[in-house]
């Protein structure tokens, strides 16, 4: 299937105390099955809004969103979300957090031991088997984000939505988790949409980069296909001219065409 997720003329306006604020206008985007798509733009350009619209957490003010040719009418477990601030439930262990999602999605047709197995598998995939009994406050920020990814992937979603998942992490942890994500996505072939403001992250991970214009009333500015072969290797790419060319295109868009006015 070519057009897995479709955004048709999507507009989004918020009613604030100061009046109507138009965040997005005329967003048109087709996301292919199995593709890794990055949404990049300056802060406030509405890229997280696009993600929340696909997740169904927000309803568009105009236009239509389709997933699998069906209109997105609300959130659902077929679109797993990894939130920016991990959003783990602090009273549940890592295992409990993942199990909650697994039980909800597969509880109706699978027995307990199968659900347990799924939970273990999801935690093993992100390398956290040893910490499964720990509570979120007992583990590091990077580990929390991994549990968030495990929780989203354990639901076997059609689309994985990542909202700046590594934004709050230090550079080394971020690089490590990017590599993990590359491996996991290659393994599961999940369609993925990731919001980021990190150019290197976008080029390293994605098949296409969607560059958003500045808000208010932001829209899709340009789409860049990243033809770099997979599996990708961070160190090898550092000296790859194609990598740098792609990086320069995005940089040029962000820092020349859509230069952010000093706030």
């Amino acid at each position: 299937m070519d057009k897995f997720v479709q955004l048709q003329d999507v507009g989004m306006a918020f009613d604030t105390r100061q009046g109507r604020f138009v965040a997005l206008r005329n967003v048109n985007l087709d996301i292919r099955e199995g593709e890794f798509l990055a949404l990049i733009g300056h802060s406030g350009c509405g890229k997280s809004t696009v993600l929340n619209l696909i997740a169904g957490l927000l309803r568009p003010s105009a236009g239509v969103l389709l997933c699998h040719n069906r209109e997105i009418a609300g959130p659902g477990p077929d679109r797993g979300v990894v939130f920016q601030n991990h959003s783990l439930l602090p009273w549940l262990s890592c295992y409990g957090n993942v199990y909650l999602a697994v039980e909800r999605v597969f509880g109706a047709k699978e027995n307990r031991s199968m659900l347990k197995q799924r939970t273990h598998d999801a935690l093993a995939m992100v390398g956290l088997s040893h910490a499964s009994h720990k509570r979120p406050h007992e583990i590091s920020g990077g580990m929390k984000q991994r549990v968030g990814i495990a929780r989203a992937l354990a639901m076997q979603p059609k689309v994985l939505l990542l909202d700046e998942p590594f934004g709050a992490l230090d550079a080394l942890t971020r690089a490590h988790l990017q590599d993990e994500l590359l491996r996991i996505v290659a393994q599961t072939r999940t369609t993925t949409v990731m919001v980021t403001h990190d150019v290197d992250e976008a080029v390293l991970l994605s098949d296409r980069i969607v560059m958003m214009t500045n808000g208010p009333a932001a829209t899709v500015g340009e789409i860049l296909a990243i033809g770099l072969p997979r599996p990708r290797e961070r160190l090898a790419l550092a000296s790859d001219p194609a990598y740098h060319a792609a990086r320069n295109v995005v940089m040029d868009f962000l820092y020349r065409r859509e230069i952010r006015q000093a706030a």
Binding site: A55, G56, L57, G74, P75, G76, P77, R79, G80, V81, F83, N85, S87, L89, P90, W91, S93, Y95, L100, A101, R104, V105, H120, S129, H130, S132, H133, K134, R135, H137, E138, M155
Partner: protein, 296 residues
């Protein structure tokens, strides 16, 4: 090489029940570092900085009390009060008719009134708090009523209780009920309103049914706030019971204080003050322990 000291066996499966507390990390011994202070020295140090100050404070308090009692002869000193207390607690559960019962009965009667009034308040207040916090419209409806009634002194409700129930016992329970309900309503409501949107978004993405949203997300998220409310409510209830019983009579610490005032038995009044303080402290500590159990 000290890697062996760091390697802990990795649990393959999480235990069915989560361990209450993570195992303490094994202490690493490094050659070349001087040994720290010995166990004896460390406990001595701890005692000097944590055990000593409270004792010193109590000793000063006793000294002040003793000096005051020397100055004013109608006030019994610590020694006299202690002797009276020993005598009193030698037989806590005697029963010589409704006006003369042991201190144990008085404490239990007061606790029972607080328990019933507080229990009813929890039964009404906590669900009310959930509703007020979850539905903004109802919250705004309740806001003027709560802000109007909450600052009212609990004892002002006593005549209403006497009027409605036509008996002293239910009236004092009613006073406990009305004074301890507000902290529970307000804290529960604040807790519900403060449940982070992120948690609710998790529920939305998972499409959890409403019952599960409550048991898995709303209730655990609100629990610490709720326990704070319960703690404040118990504190208020215990404060108010003495005053209410002074007015209504019957068996109870408040009535006992008033009775001993009429007998001019000041030592017993002082004992009553200590008993009220200690019972209040124990109630508070019990709830602090309960709260710690549900901390995350």
């Amino acid at each position: 090489m000290s890697t062996h000291a760091l390697s802990t066996p990795l649990a393959e499966d999480p235990p069915r029940r989560k361990p209450r507390r993570p195992a303490a990390p094994r202490l690493q011994t490094l050659d070349g570092l001087p040994p720290g202070p010995g166990r004896f020295n460390r406990s001595l140090h701890w005692l000097a900085f944590h055990g000593l100050p409270p004792l010193l404070g109590l000793a000063l308090f006793m000294l002040g009390w003793q000096l005051l009692s020397l100055h004013n002869t109608s006030l019994p000193g610590p020694a006299t009060t202690w002797a009276a207390a020993v005598e009193l607690f030698a037989d806590p559960f005697y029963d010589n008719g409704p006006n003369d019962q042991g201190i144990g009965w008085n404490i239990l009667h007061s606790l029972a009134r607080v328990g019933i009034g507080f229990g009813l308040a929890a039964l009404v207040g906590i669900p009310a708090g959930f509703i007020i916090g979850r539905f903004a419209f109802i919250g705004r409806m309740a806001a003027p009523i709560i802000s109007l009634l909450r600052p009212v002194s609990p004892l002002a409700w006593l005549p209403i209780g006497l009027l409605v129930f036509k008996a002293a016992g239910p009236a004092s329970i009613w006073v406990i009920f009305i004074s301890s309900i507000w902290p529970m309503v307000l804290n529960t409501a604040a807790g519900v309103a403060q449940v982070p949107q992120d948690y609710l978004n998790v529920a939305r993405v998972l499409k959890l049914p409403e019952a599960k949203v409550f048991t898995r997300i709303l209730f655990p998220a609100v629990l610490p706030h709720m326990i704070t409310g319960i703690r404040l409510a118990i504190g208020v209830a215990w404060l108010v019971i003495v005053a209410a019983e002074m007015l209504t009579g019957g068996v109870g610490l408040g009535f006992w204080v008033w009775d001993e005032w009429n007998n001019l038995n000041v030592a017993h009044i002082l004992i009553a003050i200590f008993v009220v303080g200690i019972v209040g402290l124990l109630l508070e500590q019990a709830l602090v322990l309960l709260a710690r159990r549900f901390e995350y």
